[in-house]
Amino acid sequence: MRELSELLADSVDARARSVAGLTPDRDDFDAIVATVRRKRVVRRSLQALAVVPVVGGLAAGVYLGVGLIGDGGIDPAAPSSPVVTTPTPTADAFDPGALVTEDGLPPFYEAPADLLEHVGEGWVAMAYRPEPASDTTGQAAALSNQIVLASPDGDLFRAVELPLERDVQVVAWDTGETRVRVSWPEPEGSGRLLTLGWVDLGTGEVTQDVEQFERWAVFVGHSAAGAELWAEDVPDGRSGITVWALAPDGSRRQVAALDSIGTPRIDPSGRSLLVEGEDPTRGFAVVDVDSGDVREVPFGMTGQTCTMVGWLDATSTAVLCHDPVPAEAAAMDRVDFVAQKAGLYRVETLPDGEVTPLHAFAEGEPVPEPWSGQWVDGSLAFVVSNGFPGGCSLGVGVWDGAAPRVVLDGGERSANVFWLRPGAAGRLLVLGSPSCESSGVQAQVWSVDVATGASATLTPWLEADPDAGRDYWFRTVTSMAG
């Protein structure tokens, strides 16, 4: 009798010999490269928009892009929170009219004429574009396209209906303004990839910027001076970005040209950008928004493997370090954070800054994903790592100086990815999708009180309806800001 593992290995060897010399044909390989390029662009934009802080009252959005496509093969087990409040539609201070039920949307109100007079802190603007899909026939056309405003209690108001052909994404919104900053991708062959513009929430008018980017760009955040910071791809598919500052008067200034393949994170004061270092395994770099100066900052932890989590304040960062994975373990194995003595460290970004241990992770405690940190009202919110590089996330966690804790559980199958952004009054906005790797399906938006862990669902999952050919929803809410 033969041992199973040996037999399987021999079988693989024999099969590999029988197909020796096989390679993907040129068309297939070109398609693989093109698909990877597109997905990496979208992933980068998601990472960028996930962690931009509020500066000057204008909050940045999260964009669940069209590139997150896939088979939807993951069971959309809704993430659950330790404490969940189910908002009940209420008519607070004005008459919202009757709840409307429409295919592809959760129950909502048509925005009354005076809605914007009642909008304030805690409201969230979302682009909502329901696109059903079938396992057999694939993605169907969008049923509708709109900008929806969510009240802090989870009431939804349709503010603007948009044409189906314009896939508008909410980039940023100051709840005191009647306009929302948007962008939308342009079709191939139209001369540019992206258009920046505004949508007037009162009139529905869509306007475009006079000056546009030549290449794909992602919104980084706002500078201390109130300028929009954008990271534009460099030409010819090369690696790197150019950071631009778009002033409120429409003028633009190049901040820095960077070789980094990551997208910058703006610090809470709007004065510095955090980017990957020349050697990301050894440190990171900080870019001065005013001068464009770039300074390399080492992690400063000898003998440990370190990755950036995010800003802690205007001059220090949170860094995760752990012992190297043993050589006998495969390089891509799950990291056992406790066995590898994982810890969270404060690394100051100023010259001669100090490295201070903050927390040593114990068994069962949530550990941050690299570059997922979001500082909210004195606490560090982060996406919880499952230990695999590039894998799915386990949920959303918070560290506030004590033991890290989970505030949004990814569910038993851990099949969720999350994007975070700060909300008003100590709340964290979370956009989550039950997807993993390249798969992607509809998203849901939560508002989480980081102090108590209580969460409210702003937009719920939509139920599938296989009998109607809707095995899953390919997209629903696609971006948000508030």
């Binding site: 399987l8 693989v12 060897d13 029988s18 390679t23 993951i74 390089a331 390249s438």
Partner: protein
């Protein structure tokens, strides 16, 4: 050219036959196997992981092959569940084994349910732990033990193989599917 492209080219040029061979443990036709490998290449190189060596990239793609296979199996399962409301669907016939070793092994694996197949491949080909297999396939550790044990037993009957150091199954094994899985089906 971006940093990931040379590595993707090397994997496709130098490791493609081995990747296809791994995929053929999960699907029977070479065309299906190539599709699976290409999906896995897209998945691996679109993700956050960075590969510093060819071996590292190949290993990651091999695991992505199993992950993508399971995603597709779940999708087909949902599809069949929808059709089953209208008509009983015959299960896929198990192909006749070819006379050579890979043909026999692949045929024996093809007779296993997809989850058992995936668990056996990850545990006995990729040498992943139960915990890591569970994380990769988004299953509970108990389910991984059960599927692996059932799969190994079936392969033992079909191929006359033995195993060493197999984790004992400690969960209740009177049912092959959990309550949640019954609901999904």
């Amino acid at each position: 050219m971006s940093r990931w492209e040379p590595m993707l080219e090397r994997v496709a040029r130098e490791r493609y036959p081995r990747l296809v061979a791994h995929a053929m443990l999960l699907v029977r036709s070479r065309v299906e196997a190539e599709d699976l490998v290409q999906e896995a290449l897209v998945s691996a190189f679109s993700g956050k992981a960075r590969f510093t060596s060819l071996a590292e990239a190949e290993q990651y793609v091999r695991r992505a092959i199993v992950s993508r296979f399971m995603d597709a199996a779940r999708k087909r399962s949902r599809e069949r569940a929808a059709y089953a409301r209208h008509s009983a669907q015959p299960s896929s016939p198990v192909p006749e084994p070819a006379g050579d070793l890979p043909g026999e092994v692949e045929a024996a694996l093809a007779a296993l349910p997809p989850r058992e197949r995936a668990c056996v491949v990850l545990r006995h080909v990729e040498d992943l732990s139960v915990r890591d297999t569970a994380a990769l396939l988004r299953l509970s550790e108990g389910a991984v033990k059960r599927y692996t044990s059932d799969g190994v037993a079936a392969l033992g009957a079909a191929l006359g193989t033995t195993t060493v150091d197999e984790s004992p199954v400690v969960t209740v094994t009177t049912k092959k599917t959990s309550i949640k899985e019954v609901r999904r089906a």
